[in-house]
Symmetry: C2
Subunit: 353 residues, 2 copies
């Protein structure tokens, strides 16, 4: 079966899988313009930093394709910039939409300055640039998948099939498609080297049980859901070969901020002598940050822990601690950091910058 | 504030806190006879092996107090045994009700053989025996609390107040009252030595967020709820001083079967250089079992992981692994095993048998 496509784009037609309806229902909704994209991002119909940027940019491509070219390139660029500024406000902390907007504005300036390009050609170039993001992100993810899978197979050369544990959602539902950590797992499965993937529930927002499990069932990848409390017991019982997780931000020394629970899995992997990998596009590495101590950790609403929908699951009045992320020290990333440029030991990132 | 009493017994009147209604509502229901107790146990209004046995036995005491003494001791004992046999069927795997029934039948035989006791006196003796279970269990738990608190305080003599992590529910809602691991925490709080208790959610059945959090809020013990995935991050961030958990069964060598997730906490405690304690009545130590390898691990229904009430929280079709317990190897129990007889290193249990 083909990889789950959560973002479908074809000739100016954009549809996204409404993640709010998962796992109950798998429904695609059309995105006709930037307002639709803004609302879908705000309501979390689409989530995951790369996916947000791509849906935003594609919604602008949809609009530009339908638009008659303005009279001047200046007018075109003013319009593009206005729409990008608006899209950035949909989730101000998601850095990818911000970076994508910057890149597009830079292109606008270049096109305006280039006297050999007319306004219709400029519009086409901008559309092509925006549309290329989807394919580029998928290509990067596929490269991550190939590099990761071959590294893991090389390090487990004597084993016929491998058992992999993963955390949170890093698949088609968080990226343009294919995924990072889940992309590596897809590549292992395609190579007929995957025995079983163990995905954690990923409390409190259940990205593992709702989203990763959905992708794995959808693609018929052999998978077992475990609660976060069962990770160590599963590592021991099932003789897990590797743990692979994604990254929200990697510091220059390899310290990695990722979904809460990642640090714990890294400690448990080390004590069970299991290789621990981080899989992320090279753009997730922030060389401005020397180490993980400077990465701020967002605290999220207590209601995520005390309620499931309208059902109260925790005693009224209890204080909660609900950090969204934690930082895994580089020395626990024993397998390496898997990027589209290759797999690197945490202390070997800088030379490949 | 007084300790939460989930089992209230006074002069032949028995009431239990209906745990099915927690955390939404704190409602006591009367138990008039063994049929009421059987149903309450079956429906899990009361849970926890010691609590089940005590509610069963007290329901029999309630009936016997109201009963006119039969004509003969043989008739009395036949009636008692019938009711005990019936109570054991309410939760056949809960060993405590079974052991309590055996002890009571043994007493019946002794009373029947003792020609100096008449039938009314025999009935009184049986009632007293059954009623004593509640006070005895609470006394044992208080002794566990005192031994554990003084050991932890001794090992942290330089610290003014302590931060303790616990798992699952081992309090008034699982025992006759006071609790085992939570009893130690209560004793630390009473001694003004508790800074904060961090209780884990304890997925998938949420005994931590529903029950332990309820007890802690009820008694105004300073407490913070964390997801199971946050244990390591909390250990690091809050500099936890000790982890204390209960036990379902302890093998002769100290290997301990307890709620799934316990093993993981022990590994994490060790890697963070935090003392790890098991608190349990000495009767939980099964000297017939040499080590943890021979303890069978019950697998529980997948629906516990895929649904919260009627809300689906996991993708349809995903395979689940839902072990109820795991085994923590003795060498990870670095603090010791806290019993009513004292705190022992795992390999020092046998001499105190």
């Amino acid at each position: 079966m083909a990889t789950l496509q959560a973002i479908k784009y074809n000739d100016g037609q954009l549809e996204i899988l409404d993640q709010l309806l998962l796992p109950e229902s798998c429904t695609f909704v059309p995105i006709w313009n930037v307002e639709d994209a803004w609302a879908a991002i705000r309501e979390m119909k689409v989530r995951g930093a790369p996916a947000i940027a791509i849906v935003g940019c594609l919604s602008l491509a949809v609009e530009l394709r339908k638009l008659a070219a303005p009279e001047t390139k200046e007018e075109l660029c003013r319009l593009v910039q206005e729409k990008l500024d608006y899209l950035v406000t949909s989730r101000p902390t998601a850095v990818n939409m911000h970076l994508a907007a910057e890149a597009c504005v830079k292109l606008c300036t270049q096109l305006t300055d280039n006297t050999s390009v007319n306004v219709a050609e400029a519009k086409d170039d901008i559309v092509k640039h925006l549309e290329a993001m989807l394919a580029n992100d998928i290509a990067d993810n596929r490269a991550i998948g190939e590099h990761g899978a071959s590294d893991i197979m090389k390090k487990n050369a004597t084993k016929d099939k491998l058992r992999i544990m993963t955390h949170c959602n890093t698949g088609s539902l968080a990226t343009a498609g294919y995924g990072t950590a889940l992309g590596v797992i897809r590549s292992l499965h395609t190579a007929s080297k995957l025995d079983q993937v163990y995905c954690t529930e990923t409390r409190p927002y259940n990205q593992g049980s709702r989203l990763t499990a959905f992708e794995l069932v959808y693609e018929k990848i052999p998978a077992t859901l475990v609660c976060d409390s069962m990770a160590a017991a599963a590592m021991k019982q099932f003789k897990i070969d590797a743990v692979i997780v994604g990254a929200d931000r990697v510091a220059a020394n390899g310290d990695t901020a990722n979904k809460i629970g990642t640090y714990q899995l890294a400690v448990l992997a080390k004590s069970h002598d299991i290789l621990f990998y981080v899989a992320a596009p090279f753009s997730s590495i922030d060389f401005q940050i020397p180490n993980g101590h400077s990465i701020p950790i967002e605290e999220r609403p207590h209601s995520e822990m005390t309620h499931t929908g309208s059902i109260r699951t925790a005693a009224a009045g209890i204080n909660c601690w609900n950090p969204g992320f934690d930082v895994t020290p580089a020395e626990l990333i024993t397998g390496g950091i898997i990027t589209e440029k290759g797999v690197f030991k945490p202390d070997q990132l800088a030379p490949h910058q």
